[in-house]
């Protein structure tokens, strides 16, 4: 089975955003990056499917040169080779632009199954997977917690809201967006890291066109919906003040 995993490089969770001068994007030079967490689960699921059904796992990513960091990491974890659609403009691109950039190169590869995370930890549109599926003419399903392949039929467990689930089937080729927690992640071994250096990364120039669907006109720290009383002091002082306020002011104890 030929499986593609689409991964995105996103700022780390610890990163503190700083805005650029026109306040429509973040200052790229301040950012440290990592693999989008739901994509890491998608990669793990692909590696498990390859172990079960044989075949290959191809990691696909759109973005500037810097995204090779997460491509190498995916190769070190066990992906066989990579496809990198490279353009600086793809860094802050919306989901539609990113899916358009990858779709032509991915169509040629004739994948049986495409996995990706349910959304990205940066822009969080949760659109990339379904847009790519539509562009490739594949059925899709989202927020998947279990993947079973039987011949040319895919049966998956989709998460619904509030603790409900549903199984559904669809023909391959298909695209799934994977929910975090579907499996337990493996980490790269030293052997894997060494092997990754020899693995192939095919670089493809981003196709022309593909106008943005979204324009960010302002980016800012969120507005508070409540007046938060910030309690300072030593841990003991803060604890005392908090408990006092919960007892006397909020009256919840």
């Amino acid at each position: 089975m030929k499986i593609a995993v689409c991964i995105k490089q996103v700022p780390t969770r610890e990163w503190q955003p700083r805005l650029n001068d026109d306040k429509t994007w973040v200052r790229d030079q301040d950012v440290s990056y990592e693999m989008n967490e739901p994509d890491a689960y998608a990669l793990e699921e692909a590696l498990r499917l390859r172990e079960k059904h044989s075949g290959e796992v191809v990691v696909c990513s759109a973005g500037p040169t810097r995204v090779q960091q997460v491509i190498r990491e995916a190769l070190a974890r066990g992906a066989d080779r990579a496809l990198h659609v490279e353009a600086d403009a793809l860094g802050p691109a919306d989901a539609f632009v990113a899916a358009s950039a990858l779709s032509a190169a991915m169509a040629e590869q004739q994948f049986d199954l495409i996995l990706t995370g349910l959304q990205s930890d940066d822009q969080g549109h949760a659109q990339f997977g379904p847009v790519l599926a539509e562009k490739l003419g594949m059925p899709h399903s989202t927020i998947i917690m279990e993947v079973n392949v039987d011949g040319s039929v895919l049966r998956v467990k989709r998460e619904l809201e509030g603790g409900w689930f549903q199984y559904l089937s669809m023909p391959l080729p298909a695209l799934l967006t994977i929910q975090s927690g579907i499996n337990t992640l493996r980490y790269a071994t030293l052997k894997g890291i060494m092997a990754a250096k020899k693995k192939e990364i095919i670089k493809v120039a981003a196709p022309a066109g593909g106008g943005a669907r979204q324009k960010i006109v302002a980016l800012y720290a969120p507005q508070k919906s409540k007046q938060t009383v910030m309690i300072g002091g030593s841990p003991a002082e803060a604890a005392k003040e908090l408990v006092k306020r919960l007892r006397e002011e909020a009256r919840v104890l």
Partner: protein, 322 residues
């Protein structure tokens, strides 16, 4: 015209539909008609319920192939509806179902989709939509690009259902005929189910201590457990804690877990991604304890302490035991 696509399942309206209508009414401010459509099979009851809203019309999209949700059938039906109705904007509640089909619909219509919208505003004569980005660390005002209609999904809990204006009399209900070629539906759904009976119904808890990534390891869960005990609270968690198996999934708060509104909610080491906030921000009193002063959880907190939870939790336990 703004067309709101309400959501129903087995004839029961998803309450988030009212919030999407409220958002449409707010943006329109009477200057643009608002219509509501609902897709499914035998939806006349739901359509009648929606007709309470102060809207120009309710449109029932009824087809046997829509009885059980599939993205393929909904995309086919709504593509025809939107093409017929020609709205300037289409609003959806940002449910898991909307997440499943709306990007496909937007691609097929070749139109912009803005998801997770928490506010509507104007920017230079165009409607701009606020949405969280970077895990809630920032908010972006986004103007959808390209020809209309623009598709907009409204985050659950961002607009108040009780702010929805009701009409003086019931709105008229029309029916839209759509063609669905059932042989082209690729997804074959099975019946939804619940994994296990939820042993803990957190929605009934008066006090909840909820733990997030800041707890760092499974061994440290005991710290949160002790704090919960001292508060006389149920223990809950954000998604990553349950993903790691440190606490069972049934204790998860957020869009994929339970929605709670206790008297007291203590968020211990939880940064406050939108998926978590939607599950707890209705709580009466919220306490946030986090080492990061910029963590989005502080936006919804009544009381905040910036600091090391491993120092603060024992101090609070000691104080409660005095």
């Amino acid at each position: 015209m703004i067309l709101v696509i309400a959501e129903q399942k087995d004839g029961k309206l998803n309450r988030a539909s009212w919030e999407a209508i409220a958002a449409a009414q707010q943006l329109s401010a009477g200057a643009m008609p608002v219509k509501v459509a609902v897709a499914g099979h035998n939806v006349s009851g739901v359509a009648g319920e929606l007709a309470q809203a102060a809207v120009a019309e309710v449109i029932a999209v009824d087809h046997a192939a829509l009885a059980q949700y599939t993205p393929d059938a909904f995309v086919q039906a709504l593509q025809q509806l939107i093409t017929q109705a020609a709205p300037a904007m289409v609003f959806f509640p940002h449910s898991y179902q909307t997440r499943d089909f709306s990007a496909t619909l937007a691609t097929r219509l070749d139109r912009a989709l803005v998801t997770d919208v928490i506010g509507v505003t104007q920017s230079g004569g165009a409607a701009a939509f606020s949405r969280p980005m970077f895990q809630g660390k920032l908010t972006a005002d986004v103007v959808p690009q390209g020809p209309t209609p623009h598709l907009i999904s409204i985050q659950i809990g961002a607009f108040r259902a009780d702010a929805m204006q009701k009409g003086a009399s019931a709105a008229s209900v029309a029916t839209a005929a759509v063609k669905i070629d059932e042989s082209t539906l690729r997804q074959k759904p099975e019946a939804p189910f619940q994994e296990a009976k939820q042993a803990v119904d957190l929605s009934q808890a008066e006090r909840i201590v909820s733990v997030g990534r800041g707890i760092k390891s499974q061994e440290n869960i005991a710290v949160a457990e002790q704090l919960a005990k001292a508060f006389g609270a149920e223990l809950a968690a954000s998604r990553p804690i349950c993903d790691n198996g440190w606490l069972p999934m049934e204790r998860q708060i957020g869009s994929s877990g339970q929605t709670v509104a206790p008297k007291l909610y203590v968020a211990l080491g939880i940064s406050g991604a939108i998926q978590h906030l939607v599950g707890m921000k209705g709580s009466r009193t919220i306490v946030a304890i986090n080492k990061d002063a910029e963590a989005p959880i502080f936006e919804v907190a009544d009381y905040g302490i910036q600091g090391d939870l491993f120092e603060l939790a024992p101090a609070i336990i000691a104080e409660l035991q005095k």
